[in-house]
Structure formats: C-alpha cells, structure tokens
Symmetry: C2
Subunit: 404 residues, 2 copies
Amino acid sequence: MPDISERSKNYMGSPIRKLAAMIEKAGFDPDMISFGGGAPSLTPPKEVLEEMCRRVKENPQKTTAYCSTIGLPKTRQAISDDLKEWEKIDIPADSISITTGGTEALYVTLQTLLDPGDEIITSDPSYLGYREPIKLTGAKEVMIPTTWEKDFQINQEKVKEALGKKTKAILIASPDNPTGTLYNKDSLKFLTDVAEDHDLWLITDDIYKHIVFKGKFTNSRCYGAEEKTITCCSFSKTASVPGLRIGYLYGPEKVVRKISEIKQATTLTPSRTAQYAVRKFLENKGKIKREYLSKVVIPTYKARKEKMQECIDQYLAEANYSEPNGAFYFFPDINKYLERMNMNELQFADMLLKEEKVVVVPGRFFGAQGKGHVRLTFVSETEERIEKGFQRMQRFIERHSKHS
Amino acid sequence: MPDISERSKNYMGSPIRKLAAMIEKAGFDPDMISFGGGAPSLTPPKEVLEEMCRRVKENPQKTTAYCSTIGLPKTRQAISDDLKEWEKIDIPADSISITTGGTEALYVTLQTLLDPGDEIITSDPSYLGYREPIKLTGAKEVMIPTTWEKDFQINQEKVKEALGKKTKAILIASPDNPTGTLYNKDSLKFLTDVAEDHDLWLITDDIYKHIVFKGKFTNSRCYGAEEKTITCCSFSKTASVPGLRIGYLYGPEKVVRKISEIKQATTLTPSRTAQYAVRKFLENKGKIKREYLSKVVIPTYKARKEKMQECIDQYLAEANYSEPNGAFYFFPDINKYLERMNMNELQFADMLLKEEKVVVVPGRFFGAQGKGHVRLTFVSETEERIEKGFQRMQRFIERHSKHS
C-alpha cells in the first residue's frame, strides 16, 4: 500500500465513535446500559418530520435538489429570527451559514481561522471532539485546567498567563461537555474582554444552549466582542434530530463568507431536505420548539438528571462533582474508588463494560484534568435503568475493592 | 477583525457556487436558461423518497438518530452488493464508508493521502472542485493537458514525464466533468499499471458512472491496482437526490478506516435518514435503480444531449468538440467565435448572462486547457429550451462579431 499522509497518521480516532461502531455492529443488546455517547433519545417533534415529508411528497424534485453552500435564504432568515427571539441578538441572515451539523460548523471555522503555529485556548476538560480538528489546522491547543471545586468555570488567571503573541483564538462551550457548566456572567465578560483587548477570535460552541436546568444561557455577544465571535450551533440536541445532520454557524459576514468557501470543499452544500424540517421547528417565533423544549425535552432530561444525581449521592457517595447546570452529563471525580480498586478510569470503563454491561466514558479523553473522572450521560436511559446502572457500578466497585 | 488563516486567504471560492447563490437569492427567473451547474432536474424515484418518509413516520426517533461514522451496516452491505451486481467487483461492506455526498468523499480521501509537498496528477481540463481541496492538503496539483482532438483521454506520454519522486497519487473522473469522456480500456490499463509500478494512489471519481450514453463504464479495478485505488461516489446524479447529501467511498479496508477517522472531524456521521432512501434505491439487485436509469434518466438526458449536439452543429457550427460518452456536459472550443467578438470566454459568459439570460461556464475554470472553451450542461433544460438557449447564443454572437 502506498503511504498515507502524516496528518492522518497523527490523527487519533475518537474512542467514543469506536465504541458506537462496535455496539452498532454487535446489534442492540437490551441489557446494556449506556452512560456513554450523548445521543438524544427522545422522539423529535412530530410536526417537524411531518413537514419535511409533506414537502418531499409535494415537490420531490425541488426538496432534494442542491442549494447554495450557505443554505436556503428562508432557513437562514428563520435562524436569524430565532436568535432575535431567544437570545436578543441581531444576526442578519447573510451572516449565517447552514452546516452539516455542529461538527462541520466547528471544523470549517477552525480551518478558516487557524494557521500552523497559532495557539488556541480551550479548557481542560472539554469536548474530546476539539482535539483532532484543532490538530488538523496545525495550530497548538493550549488547555487551561479547571476543576469541579470551581464549577469548571474558566480559570481567568491561567488564561492571562497563557496569552501570548501566538494566541489566535479561544474556544468554549456553554453549557459545556463533559462538565455541564453554564458559563456565568463573570466568565463571559472576562472572555469577551480578552478577545477585544488582544484581538482574538472567540469561538463559542452553543449546541447545548437550550438544554439548561438551572440558571439561564446567555449569548456571549451580550458582553461584547461581536465582531470577533463565531458561534457554532446544531439542531441535533435541541430538536433530537442528530441523524438529519443539520447545524449552523454565524459571525461577522465577511468571515462567514470565507468559512462557507472552505465548506464548498468539505460538503458543497447542506442537506436541503433537512432545512425544511428545522425551518418548521423555528417558525411562528419557535412555537413548536418552545412547546417541545418545555413539555418534552427539559422535563424528561431534568428528571433523569435528578435521578442520576440521587444515584451518585447514594451509590458513589465518595465521588466529587459539580452539579451540571445544562447539557447531558455528570463528570464525577471517582479517584477514591479507583485507588481502592487499584485501577485508573480507563481500566474501570473497560472492565465495567465487560463485566456489567454499563458504558461510561473515561475522563482523560477530555483532557489531563479528567484523569480519575468519568463522564456519565443521563440522556439515553430512563430513571429506572439509570438506577440499575448505578447498582451494577456499585457491585463492580465492591467486587474489585481491596477492603481494609 | 482578527486575521484569518493563510489557507483560507489562498482559497478561491467556486465561481459556479457564487453564481448558484446569486441566482437563488434573486429568486427563480423563468426566462433564464441554464447550461450552468450540473444539477439533476429529474424527479427522484418515488419509492425511494416514500420509503424514507415511511421509515421516518414509523420510527421517528431511530431514523433521525446518530449512526457510526462509516454509516449503517445494512446500507454499506447494499452498496457492496450493488458493486458486485453492476461492476463485478468484490468490495466487503467494511471497506465502504458512507459520506456526505461525493464532495466529502473526495475531501477526506485527499486529506488522508496527501502531505504538503506531495504531487497529485490530474487532467487538464478536469472538475473545478478538485483545485481547492487539493490545495488545502498542501500538495501540488500537476495537470496533464488533454485535447478534444484526442477525446480528452489521458495523455500517457505526458503522465510518464510528470512522474517523479514526489508523485503520490493520480485523480481521474470517468465519465469526466467537464468533457464527458469515458476512459477507455487503454487509458485505464495505463493508469492502473502506473499506480502499481510507481506505488501510487489511484483516486477514481465515479459519480457519473451510470450516466453513460455510448460505450460502457468499467471500474478501473478490473485492470488492477485494487490495493492502491480509492473510489469516490455519490447518489446525487444517479438517483437525482443531491439535496440529501449522500455518497460513499471505498478502497482497502485499512485506509478506509483511516479516512473515516478524518471524517469524524468533518461531519461526524452521514445522514441516517438519507441512508434509508438510498438503501431502497439499491435493494433487490437494484430493481428500482435499473428501471429509473433505463426508463427515466438515460432516455431523458440522452434526448437532451442529442438535442444539444444538434444545436451546437447548427448554431455553433465552427465550434470544435469531442462528443461526450457520459456525464452531463459538452465542452466545445469556441475560439473562432471569441476571436471574431474580440473577447475571451470569461467575458462571453458574463455578457451572455446579462444580455441574453443564458448561463454557461467559462472553460478556464477547469484548467488552462479550457481557455476558449465553455462548459454547457444539457441536464437542466428541456429540448425546447435548449434550442432557445442556442438561438440566443447565436443572436449574441452575431451582435458582437466584427464582420469582415
């Protein structure tokens, strides 16, 4: 076989994706309990998929045709209206580009902004899907440690220390994955000030913005740096439609135009069919979205979150964690148990899956700070099964602990 | 605004995409006649979209959920069976990765194979969508001139001259865009031998493989280099569903796995919903596909192709061209007319659009050899409107020619 590129040799495949492929190939095992991938488990709003199918049936040629790379004007306008309605920000439709999910939004943004040698600041821990896309630009990721004691809010002193001539951008997610942290006013004000003062790009990953249980999501633009901020977003988590692969990004029109040119190379255009679905989701000031979030998404996930919290307190009472205000995850520090079992969290996750059919994600996948932690999603399982999963975990820990 | 990356500054947006966005924004003008973008204009097979919608309705949660990065096992198996049935090649399902259209298939393949400093051989002219994705890898594109006199078949002598230590890959499309050339046995045998002898990657872009009017498409693997060949393909042209954004790639399993890792960074997973549609298209040994191609696609496009050829012979009688065996395009050399009008083909395309509302694509967008040529697609317009477009073109040429 001829050689492959250095960039692909250095590329680390996502361990979560590897697990997903393995489970998909093995077929569905009803006895497996997943606290693993953050995959929405709710049925999407009926009207949204019905509208997509109605349009496909009514005009099969047009609804499955190409569109422009930035997406249909009406869908972009619907997103513009939605941002105005929900986040009180003015983003013209031409400053919005529809993407193949939040993943593509972030990928093309990073490709457009970062050169080899540049530095981009992220927090440690943060979404594991940031590592490789950053590496592919040739830029260096500078991860700023955060801790559960400080609710995983950005460490301002350490950010200041990290700023230098090579710093080009800061990337944050709020609510965050894996910590569930909702960035507070103080953090957002600090980050927008830094972006302004040091002429940096602020990239905000807002895919969990509507999945909030405590407090309120605020668009960072409300604190400034509007001309330096690019936001990546997705409908996957909010409308429970990850399989449609539809998201968007927005920022200053000039740079969004450039990002969209790069997007010609990755996927040419977003799915036209999916754009009809999400337009329905947003129409009439987000009537369907509002109902779906308030009656289905938040109540369901909130109950599961509370159940998981109860379970941690009961079955993993010695774990330390910061209560998530949003997103899909708990990120407990389970070092005390690991020490007793004489294993690290990688071995823990691996053996727990084999012996008890419970999926958890090792914390170090999200950064060095994650060592001794596990990420547990509460989004996939019912309360009953969440409890069952923790009982198995407790049994596992009991079995492997050296009792003194 | 902070600075953007060098790679994005150097990126040239596609002029065809620019035109598409402009036309989309202006709204539909029934008087405009498009020989521009190669966008299928046929209604997709009814059963395919019905099956997609039926499944979405039956199980809205599952059909819109994430899947693995390489795509659903059953859809990959359906593609494997299809390749066996139609092209007599054995490609296991695990050597196939589903992508967000042919564009992503090519993008991730190039990223996986090419390093900065490598060279990749393409033909001149060739699809304009190859230029920038190659540039983004840092590799150098070495374009080998071909001519209508030689039916745009690869120039073997010039390929041999171009081969060197830095040569890493060869990229071809058959049938080709913009020339419609179907690579003959001699060309394919030559290319697979070169790949074998010089240990090169052969990347074949087969998106037009079923759009053939004369002769027969042959998979290059039938001539060898199976372990060095990656094929990019798409359902956009064959099933007339570009808006679903669904394609695939295949090659040696080891490199396909690596390509799929890179694909985690670009789009994470392909659309699950679209995979149900294309699976239907392929099932039962391609019953629907066979009927659709033989009763709808080929007869329609063939009639339009013949009409366009008649029109070129009648209205552009002094143009030189090679008759396309496949794909959607004629690529006539109109230098004689351009000389008479004292303009190049860029000015011709621009003024023709403004004055006569006829869209054509300047030849140089496809390579230096394309100067003085235009690409004319026959896929978008009916025979009647094709003739109308040529009458306008003739009128335009008359008006601007200096008569001696």
